[in-house]
Symmetry: C2
Subunit: 83 residues, 2 copies
Amino acid sequence: MPAFRIVIMLKPGVLDAAGQAVQQGLDALGYDVQSVRVGKVIEINASGATPEAVDDMCARFLANPLIETWRIEEPAGATGGGA
Amino acid sequence: MPAFRIVIMLKPGVLDAAGQAVQQGLDALGYDVQSVRVGKVIEINASGATPEAVDDMCARFLANPLIETWRIEEPAGATGGGA
């Protein structure tokens, strides 16, 4: 079953309020962080879907092409981190 | 300047309401999708930060270790997709 990971980020130059909030939080905790951008990741299992079909989903529904860019990737294997 | 990409997903078994909503939306548009999981991606530029420090940020602030897992990656290069 084809699996895809879509990473959706705001375009450079578009105000990323969430990123600024995260940066301020990290600053308050004492971390030295120059910039933070926050985006979405969508993992899709779709039988028979091609990368072209997934790109179509992004353009039609998942992303806002006016202010966002997306990248379609193979999802990484086992999830690391976490407790 | 070290750059990191953090991918935060809900743990398997935790209800992903956003993922279900996306799946229903894709179904309504006629796409055949078996499962969708929605998560967050955070791109950080931090001078001198080590992967261990970024993991610490995740555990303390960026993620909820009770219900989320995270993975720390090198960010991909130029952003594809988008208009």
